[in-house]
Amino acid sequence: MLELDGVSLSFGGVRAVNNLSFEIPDGQITALIGPNGAGKTSILNVISRFYTPQHGRVTFDGKDLLQLPPSEIIDVGIARSFQNVALFKELSVVDNLKIGTDHRSSAGLFSNMFRLPRAVKHERDARREAEEVLEFLDIEAIAERRSGTLSYGHQKLVDLGRALVSRPKLLLLDEPAAGTSEGLKAWLATKIKEIPERFGCAVLLIDHDMLLVLGVSQKVVVVDFGSKIAQGTPDEIRQDRRVIAAYLGEES
């Protein structure tokens, strides 16, 4: 469904992504791994259109993503989380999630101001869908809390929930478990595993926690210095010499 073809991205003289090609298949969890500074988040920022690559093509279901502004990426069905959580911190948790559903409402300012039927219907739907995702993530109890006052672990969950509630076809997760406790990490791994079936979407997971990545994904793409150095099933990656040298060797 998502295809990167020969993508290169430079900042000044620094090459963040180098002639990178890979594909994310439908309905699966694909992991993108690599050491710190390998260019993982840059790739994610290319897909969500925060960065425009100098070379290459990015297509999603045959559509050229590079023709779209960042605010229209969610409309084609791609939602993302943020590595350092970028919540709407003055808003409640449930409002953060409602914003994840808002792109689907056609109600404009006028409809919203006068609570015309479609605005009322959207508010109802948004609330219900937000509650479903809150329940999935087991955070209903903090629904009305101001998100900026939450612990980091809870903020990570809200960040994930906000992307999930948009009903994406492809969910981009940028280190969803980074900086959280071991207990939450393990719990998150089982939750992420459930996402494709329960929400009918593919997942692109970035993380450098090998245990998390190899445990939940069906396909792994390994990058280093912006280039792909390996690709395969988790079992193949475990045995790949170049991966072990570039990545596992240092980590373990």
């Binding site: 963040a16 919540l87 709407f88 980091y152 809870h154």
Partner: protein, 359 residues
């Protein structure tokens, strides 16, 4: 544990709604108690009109994070539209109010166009220039504004009702302001309102959630100017005379002070802020030139006591009385392993989330 905390939060909602209802009733019934006092009715009418201006300014400064110090400019556009209509067009009152709002909204739209790309200081300068330019233009465009002399409005009439008493004028302003505030609250509690606040909190996340950031900023400028224009219309009817000297930089700063005293991002706070500052202004008028000094001192005192404005008092009281729980003792996925919660907090530094784009 969970249903308990949910009901507590619902209580918070109820309290806020209750506060609005009490405020509404207090303003609606005020003339019953002080209606015979012409001066008090005048002060109250001014406070009600200014409350709408302050709420409209809070849309920009508090809800959207766009600092404007030219709000008196929008007030002037609405006031002159009212004056022109009363003298030349003779529109029915609701139509005239709508026209004032739309004209000011149009000006806000144009002023908002560069705001999508400008931030911080640049936006402050643009709104400052606008606020200073409007009275100058009013002085020069004598065909429309009657220049230095200004436009007078002799009688305010809606159908058979003539608003020739302070009490009638108060109720006229009160009804228009109450309807305007209700519409603003409905917008804020909708997709449109969430988009405005989302852009303020994180532009990167707003974009990723499909919110067109630049367009949202233009919309909030238009909305703010629209309601300020309606307040300007009321202002013209209340004063009975509109002159360029009414719309000074000091007035714009007065509105901004009321926003901050009331609390950024709080409609109720803005109403209280307007009420408090109008009261301080009238009380200090008797000491001549020191009025502005006293207002400034009042602002400093309030902010020293309540850095987040008067709107934060209920929450502070609630915390004092242990009605709300502190951070870190919440249930959630970690609840199964109580020991984990504290390490979640200690696990990483949330750092500065602004921007959110990382290479």
């Amino acid at each position: 544990m969970m249903p308990n905390s949910v009901s507590r939060l619902r209580k918070g909602h109820m309290a806020r709604r209750g506060g609005l209802a009490v405020g509404f009733l207090a303003f609606a019934l005020a003339p019953v108690f002080v209606g015979s006092n012409v001066t008090t009715m005048g002060i109250l009418t001014e406070a009600v009109i200014y409350a709408l201006v302050v709420v409209s300014l809070n849309l920009l400064v508090g809800f959207a994070g766009l600092v404007s110090i030219g709000q008196a400019g929008f007030l002037a556009v609405g006031a002159y539209a009212a004056g022109y209509s009363a003298n030349h067009l003779h529109l029915a009152l609701p139509l005239e109010l709508l026209l004032s709002g739309i004209l000011a909204g149009l000006v806000g739209f144009i002023l908002g166009l560069p705001s999508g790309r400008l931030r911080g200081h640049y936006l402050v300068i643009i709104t400052l220039g606008f606020g200073l330019a409007v009275p100058q233009i009013a002085l020069e465009a004598t065909d429309i504004t009657n220049g230095f002399t200004g436009l007078s409005i002799s009688n305010t009439q809606f159908g058979p009702i003539v608003m020739n008493s302070p009490r009638a004028m108060y109720y006229f302003a009160f009804v228009v302001v109450a309807i305007s505030m209700m519409l603003i609250l409905l917008v804020l509690a909708s997709k449109s309102g969430r988009a405005i606040m989302a852009v303020r909190d994180s532009e990167a996340a707003a974009l990723a959630m499909g919110i067109p950031v630049a367009r949202t900023k233009v919309i909030v400028f238009t909305l703010s100017a629209f309601f300020c224009g309606i307040a300007g219309d009321l202002f013209a009817h209340f004063e009975g005379l509109v002159t360029p000297a009414d719309f000074t930089l000091a007035l714009s700063l007065f509105f901004l002070a009321a926003v901050i005293v009331g609390g950024l991002g709080s409609v109720g706070g803005s109403i209280v802020g307007a009420l408090v500052l109008v009261y301080v202004q009238t009380r200090s008028a008797s000491v001549g030139g020191y009025s502005e000094f006293i207002i400034g001192a009042a602002v400093v005192v309030v902010l020293m006591l309540f850095p987040e404005g008067l709107a934060s008092i209920p929450a502070l009281l609630g915390r004092k009385l242990h009605l709300t729980r502190g951070v870190g003792e919440l249930p959630g996925p970690d609840a199964a392993e109580p020991g984990e919660v504290s390490s979640v907090i200690a696990g990483a530094d949330p750092g500065d989330h602004q921007g959110g784009v990382n290479a």
